[in-house]
Assembly symmetry: C2
Homo-oligomer: 439 residues x 2
């Protein structure tokens, strides 16, 4: 307190404070994601929030690093960046232990990420993103699994098939269309693929005009191509193309496993340059929340940029802000996820606190989460606080309880009371099980 | 991949990569902490890693902000800092909802923190720190609980009373000694208290000489005072002092609850200026790991600096790096904490993969974590990988299995095999329970 200045009580722009009730929701989201991906055998990893800037320059280009990241020089003169995405980090980690690691690997992480942008619905400067990746397998089976996992996550959240849609593509098909079918050169094809990626964020007319500048008379063919929603409806010239067959097989395999809300969409390209094959995104079907919730694809060349032998890779990311919007839109957040406190012991007078503390210590050993009200306020205030803080049961301790050794266990939901002895307390409570504790 | 440069595979200086085996240990540490503090009714909160720099300037002074933090200007010209500690943030959050929150509050968090310093044993630039705080109660009961919680955490880790010691003090006692007993003025007292705080990190002679510069002939009394390890052994002049009585009562109450490894230590001061009363630290008794593992105290004035009504507060922090050192020193990390994969399905030939996928989907619905080996390698390589990745059971699927519907379930620890039908698999496995899943 060396100097006094008017202090802001707000969190930094574009970031959130997680009060316990918000944190409970975040924990619910993360634990649901963890549960779903661990069922497929993925194991968790993590790394530092700060990386040397070179890691992003190599992969994303100078422009993204300079305009969209938090980058600065540390006191030792190193250029560092707060990670805007996890993929470069995981590629670095795989490259570092390329020879020791035993492939195939199934890895996931829920990193905290920062990007510098204007905060808006579904996008903040700070967010968390589930990252799921498989390394060492380049096959249709791997592609199918990497699309089945987001589906399983949505399932675990209780989402129905009609509430979301999985859009798949293979970059090579769109590139084939641009270069072979329309005869674009490499630069034109690259510009067009970037344009496709921005399509959803642009007014339709503007997209068309921008495409026309590059394509001229071929614009209509281009637009028609982008509107294809069935892989079997691609122009005849594509029929012998191996990649089209593979993608059709992926869509069929998913349908076999009950994952039927999958559509082919040639406009799915994903922004990052590192994708090399299959790409996919998961969208909310509700018009209120029309951003992509999950996005991913195959990136077989990324690990190789660290001068180690290539490792094939496929993965996806899913941001917490947009998933939260989805859960709210579809009313999928369960009630009562805050309460980790099973029992609050209220005391009529300070002198009973010691008995309460002993009882609390005893019940904690039996596995309960027990708080003791040590505020020395009136009993009514203590009960009110317990209620506000969503505690499940209370016991009030006074002369009667101390004399008889019997306690009135009150269920704060049903408002029912039961008189029980010390050793009967636990078995008379319906406490949150391990599932809730996991949150 | 716009430009090719020699890329480092190392994490940024002073930070760690958490490969799955490291992450499993970190998850074990965090979940054990969570379990222990939730037993006392604490609920989790969080906030952004980035705060406006003013938050730290107000509390820690310009010097600490400039020399020891990651601070920079964002693109909008705001001074921002990556949080070096959580207390200013939680004080800000409490101040922001001062009127809505229902006190007393028991809150905890496990934030990721950064500080700029030379990495050394037990101290890195990036670490995680459990923060536990109680708001709204200023009493001996609150102080006792806030010291009982670190004890409970150490217990939950399996630590014995002789493996750690809790050192307690009340800043006001040491200040009373300096100003009333030795007659120091405010500046001298402040300089001496800062010196005491650095004592453990200085050569003994240097500490003595620095003290002598301020104290002259009184140095010996000062040194004798700092060596007192029993609160009843304080000079006679202290006997009527209320704070001494309170601290003695705290030590007694802890002993009553079985917490006997508590000693009074007048040299415990804690670095931060915001502490106002009881302060404490927990040390490893092993000489290999002599840093403070937990540190905390009462800070009743901090919330008030946001121009809201004061809220009394007491809390502590515990860093993950130093706790990990403790667990390693005392051999307290349980084996087999990595394996979240219950079962790996290996396939003799690609054509059996579909059967494996169906079986996997079925078992996932029954709650198992199941990976399918889709690498198309020889069966021996598949089994070797499963073993290396610490999978608990495997089933190999080939013609026999498809024909008979019987599967050989192999326990990778005992190497025993059992032949079972599909619906008997789950009940024949000793899978990790919810406790392990929580990690």
């Amino acid at each position: 307190m060396k100097q006094r200045e008017k202090l802001s009580k707000e969190s930094y722009k574009g970031t959130r404070d997680f009060y316990p009730e918000d944190m409970a929701v975040r924990k619910y989201i993360f634990s649901t994601m963890r549960k779903a991906v661990e069922k497929f055998g993925y194991v968790e990893y993590d790394a530092s929030m700060i990386e040397e800037t070179g890691l992003y320059r190599a992969k994303s280009g100078e422009e993204i690093v300079n305009e969209q990241t938090y980058s600065f020089k540390d006191r030792g003169g190193r250029d560092v960046t707060i990670r805007p995405e996890m993929t470069p980090t995981v590629a670095r980690m795989i490259a570092k232990k390329r020879k020791e690691l035993s492939f195939p690997l199934r890895w996931y992480s829920i990193p905290n990420l920062f990007r510098y942008e204007r905060p808006q619905k579904g996008r903040l400067r700070e967010h968390w993103q589930l990252n799921v990746d498989m390394f060492g397998v380049d096959s249709i089976s791997a592609d199918v699994e990497m699309i089945a996992v987001p589906y399983a996550i949505m399932n675990e959240f209780g989402a129905q098939n009609d509430q979301f849609v999985i859009k798949v593509n293979d970059r090579r098909i769109t590139n084939f269309f641009l270069s072979e079918y329309l005869g674009m050169n490499e630069t034109e094809a690259h510009d067009l693929s970037k344009l496709i990626d921005k399509k959803e964020k642009m007014p339709e007319g503007e997209f068309f005009l921008s495409a026309q500048e590059i394509l001229g008379e071929q614009t209509e063919k281009f637009v028609a191509f982008l509107n294809i929603k069935d892989i079997t409806a691609l122009p005849e010239e594509f029929s012998g193309y191996e990649t089209v067959k593979s993608l059709a097989e992926i869509i069929d395999s998913l349908a076999d496993r009950g994952i039927t809300n999958v559509v082919y969409d040639p406009s799915i390209m994903r922004g990052f340059d590192y994708y090399t094959g299959v790409v996919f995104e998961v969208f909310d079907t509700s018009s209120e929340n029309n951003r992509s919730m999950f996005g991913g694809g195959r990136y077989d060349d990324l690990v190789g940029i660290f001068d180690v032998e290539k490792v094939s890779a496929i993965g996806f990311g899913a941001g917490d802000v947009i998933i939260l919007d989805f859960l709210k839109t579809h009313n999928l957040i369960p009630g009562k996820i805050l309460s980790v406190v099973d029992l609050c012991l209220c005391v009529f007078e300070k002198k009973y606190e010691r008995v309460a503390q002993e009882l609390a210590d005893h019940l904690r050993k039996e596995g309960l989460n027990v708080s003791v009200d040590i505020s020395e306020r009136k009993i009514a205030s203590q009960i009110k606080t317990a209620d506000k803080q969503d505690v499940k049961y209370i016991i009030c301790i006074g002369e009667d309880e101390v004399q008889t050794g019997k306690y009135k266990l009150k269920d704060m939901d049903s408002r029912e009371e039961k008189e029980v002895a010390k050793e009967e307390i636990v078995r008379n409570m319906e406490v949150n099980n391990e599932q809730t504790r996991k949150l």
